[in-house]
Amino acid sequence: MLDPWTLFFVVTTFALYIGIAIWARAGSTDDFYVAGHDVHPTVNGMATAADWMSAASFLSMAGLIAFMGYGGSVYLMGWTGGYVLLALLLAPFLREFGKFTVPDFVGDRYYSTTARVIAVVCALFVSFTYIAGQMKGVGVAFSGFLGVPFEWGIIIGMVIVFFYAVLGGMKGVTYTQVAQYCVLIFAFTVPAIFMSLIITGNPVPQLGFIGEAQGEGISMLAKLNTVVTDLGFLEYTETNKSMIDVFCITAALMFGTAGLPHVIIRFFTVKSADAARVSAGWALIFIAILYTTAPAVGAFARINFIDTVNEATYIADDEDYDARSAEIEAAGGKPVPQWYKDWEPTGLVAFEDKNGDGVMQYRGPNAPDGIENEVSPNNDIFVLANPQIANLPGWVIGLVVAGGLAAALSTAAGLLMVISSAVSHDLCRRTLFKSMDDKTELRVARGAAAGAVFAAGLLGIFSNSLGFVAQVVAFAFGLAAASLFPVIFLGIFWKRMNKEGAIASMLTGLITTFGYIYWFKFVDTDPANWLFGVSPEGIGFVFMWLAAGVGVVTTLATKPPPKEILELVQKIRVPVS
C-alpha cells in the first residue's frame, strides 16, 4: 500500500531533519551535551514535548484509552503530572547546579565515583529499554506504509538519527525536535478535529468529549457507555483495576517521568533556573495539547469502530469489493468498510467467523446476547485508521505516518544523548581518564553516540523477534522512579544525605524494582500474588519509598557529608545574584 502522499511527507520531513542537523553542528562539548546552555525556554519546551512524546504516545495511547476507558487515565495523569514534580522539585535546582548529565549531579553531590557509576548504570538501563521500543516503532511504520522490510526500516531510521545526533549533538537534536513536534502535533490534531465534528458537531475535541452526540440528545459519553455495555464490555467510564493499583501506576508514571534522564537533561540546555521553570511550563502546554486530545480521540474511535464494524457483512478478499458492497447495501445490510479491508493485511485488525454467518460480531466478555466475539483490533489501529474512518483526504494519512515517525525519532534522539553523554562524559572523562581534554571528549561523545545508534538499531531488530518491548516499558518508569528520583530529590532537599545513603538507596531501588518486575512479568504472572495488589507497572512507586527510607536510615547511621557539599547544596537552593 505505497501511497505517494506518504512517501512525499516522509521524504520531505526527513530532508528537513537532515538540513537542520547540518545547520546546527556542535563545535564544543558544551554544544554537544547541553546546546551551549543557550536554548530559549519556549523552544526548549517544544523540544522537550517531542522528546517526551514517543511512538507510544502518538500511536498507541489513544487506542489504549479507547479500550481501557477510565483505566486509561493512569497514562493521562501519570505522564503529565510528572512535569509538576519536575518543575517544582528538580529542574530549576539541577539547572542551577549547571553541569551536563544526571550522573554528573549524583557523582558530585555525593562526592563518590561509585555513586556516579551506579547512576550511569541506571541511566543506561532506563534509556536502552526505552529506545528499543522507539526503533521498533520506526521499523513498523516503514514496513507498514512504505513496503520496506522491517529491518531496513530500522536501518533508515538509524541513518537519519545518526546524522543529527552524532553531528549536532544536543544542539542538532533540540532543533530537529522542534520541527518534529510541529509535524506530530499537526498530524494528531487534524484527524481529531474532523472526528469531533462528525460525532459531536463541535470542532474542538476537548469540548466534543464532554458534549452531546450529534443529533441524539444524549451526551457522547453516555451514548458510548450504553453502546459498550450492550455489547458486553465494561462501562467506558469504569475500570476493572483496583483503586490502589490505579493510584500506584499513576504515581509510578509521575515519579518515573520526573526521574527519566532524557527528560531531565533537556532542562540543562536553558540559561537559568528561572528559564528551566518556565520551560517546564511550556513543555507541559505542548504535551497537554496532545494529552487532552487523546482521550477524545479514544472515545470517538471506540464509537466509530463499533458503528462501522459491528454487525457488518464481511467481504472476502477474492470478492469484488465495490460490487459486493453495493449488493449488501441494496439488501439493507451494512458492508465491511473499505478502511477495514485496507488495514487487514497488516494484521492490526482480524476477523474470525466463529458462527459462520458471514457477519462481523464485535462483543465483550459479558455479551447479553451470548454471542462470541469475532473481531480483534490492535490498539494502534485507532490512530492509524482514523483519517480513513473519518473520510479525510489521502494526504492526511501520509501526514499521520510522518507524525508517528517524528514521534519515534525525536524520542530516540533524546535517549541517544543520554547514552552517549553517560559513556563519554561520566564514564570516560569523569571516571576513567580524568585528564582528557575537551576536543578528545567531543570525539569520544560522537563515537559513543554512533555506537549507541548502532546498538539501539540492533536492539530494535532483535526486539521484534522476541516481542518483549511492551513488557519492559514498565522497567523504564519503575526504575527511574525507584532508583534515580529519591537520590536526586534528597540530594537537593536534605543536606545531611550522604554518599553511603545515596549508594544504598539507588541499589535498593534498582534491585527490588528490577526483581519484582522480572518476577511478575516472566516467572510468576499470576496477579493474585502481587504485593499489596500492586501490578509491576505500579510497583516503582512502592519501592521508591523503600529506597528513600533505606537512604535516610543509612545516612543517619554514617557520618555527615563534608563541608564543601553542604555549601554546594546551599548554592543550588539559594542562587546568589
Binding site: 503529565t80 517544582l88 487532552t292
Partner: protein, 88 residues
C-alpha cells in the same frame, strides 16, 4: 554583619520556596489522586457537560490544573526572588 544578613535572607528565601512548593503539591495531589482517583465516585454525582466530574478530572481537568500550577509557580518564584534580593 553583611554576611549574617545575607545568610538570613537566604534562609527566608528557602523557607518561602518550601512553603510555596508544599502548597502547590497539595493542589497537585488533590486534582489528580484526589479528584481523579480517590474521590472520583463522590464527584461522579455531578457532571461537567456530558462527563461525570471525577472521570473528567482524571482525563482532562487534572492536566489543565497542572499547566496552571507550573506557570503560577514561575510567577510566584520570581516574586519571592525579588522580595529576598536573590538574583535581580
Amino acid at each position: 554583619m553583611q554576611e549574617n544578613s545575607s545568610a538570613d535572607e537566604g534562609r527566608a528565601y528557602w523557607q518561602a520556596t518550601i512553603r510555596l512548593t508544599i502548597g502547590l503539591l497539595v493542589i497537585w495531589f488533590a486534582v489528580s489522586f484526589g479528584a481523579g482517583i480517590l474521590l472520583r465516585d463522590v464527584l461522579d454525582q455531578w457532571s461537567l457537560g456530558g462527563a461525570p466530574l471525577g472521570f473528567w478530572f482524571a482525563q482532562q481537568g487534572a492536566i489543565y490544573v497542572f499547566v496552571v500550577l507550573i506557570f503560577f509557580y514561575c510567577w510566584a518564584m520570581r516574586r519571592i526572588e525579588k522580595e529576598h534580593g536573590v538574583r535581580a
